[in-house]
Symmetry: C2
C-alpha cells in the first residue's frame, strides 16, 4: 500500500512525466488518488484535469498515450515521477516532444524545440 | 519579461530541479514570484518553503546549493524546470542525490539509492 499525501494540496499532487529513455522531462500534470490508482492499474499515465475537473487518460484524444515504465515517489510522499514511453513522440498538446520547449535567454523565452505534430490537425 | 501564471495556483507554481549533467530529476519544490526572480538574479535555486512560509535559498543550511544552468518554462507558463548543478551531490534533505529515491515495486516502495550524507550530521 502506497500512502501518498493528497491532503496537503487539497487532493491533487503534482506528477512529473520523464522520458524513460532520453531522460527528457516531458510535462507536469496533477493526480488525485483515483488518477494514481488508475495509473498503477492500467500502466498508462492518467492524470486529473484541473480545467475539466475529471480524470484525464493522457492521449485519449491525440493517441499520444504514455506507457508507464517506472513510478517513483518523493521523500515527502507528495510528488510522483513517472518514467514513460511517450507514444507518438510528443507529450505537449502544442505538438512538441516536451511541454518545456522554451528556455529563458536574456530575460526572454526562446523556443528550442521543433514541432512533431500540428495541433490543429490532431485536435479537431 | 517572463510572465508566469502564479494566479492559477494561489501564488505558488511547481519547480522541478533536474541534474543538468545526468538528467536525473532531483526534486520538486514551489516558487512564488519573488523566488523565481531571486533565482533569475542570483543564479542559485531559490524556492518558497510552504512549511516555513518564507523564501528558501536551497542549501542555506546544508551547503548543498543548486547552481542554475538553464531555466525552462512549460507551455502553460505555470511550471518551471531548472537544470542545475547540485553542489555536494545530494538534493534531498534525507541525504540522497534525489528526493525520488523510492520506486514502486509490487505495490510497495523500494529504496533504490544509497545515502550520500547522514542528515543527522548535516542538520543539527
Amino acid at each position: 500500500m502506497i500512502d501518498l499525501d493528497f491532503e496537503k494540496t487539497n487532493g491533487l499532487i503534482p506528477a512529473i512525466a520523464q522520458d524513460w529513455n532520453t531522460g527528457e522531462v516531458l510535462m507536469l500534470a496533477y493526480m488525485n488518488r483515483e488518477a494514481f490508482e488508475e495509473t498503477l492499474k492500467s500502466g498508462k499515465a492518467t492524470y486529473f484535469s484541473r480545467s475539466r475537473q475529471s480524470l484525464w487518460k493522457k492521449g485519449e484524444t491525440s493517441g499520444h498515450t504514455q506507457e508507464v515504465k517506472e513510478i517513483r515517489v518523493d521523500c515527502d510522499m507528495d510528488t510522483v515521477l513517472l518514467k514513460v514511453e511517450q507514444k507518438g513522440g510528443a507529450a505537449c498538446h502544442e505538438g512538441y516532444s516536451s511541454c518545456f520547449f522554451s528556455k529563458v535567454e536574456n530575460g526572454e523565452l526562446a523556443i528550442t524545440h521543433e514541432r512533431i505534430f500540428d495541433p490543429k490537425k490532431v485536435y479537431k
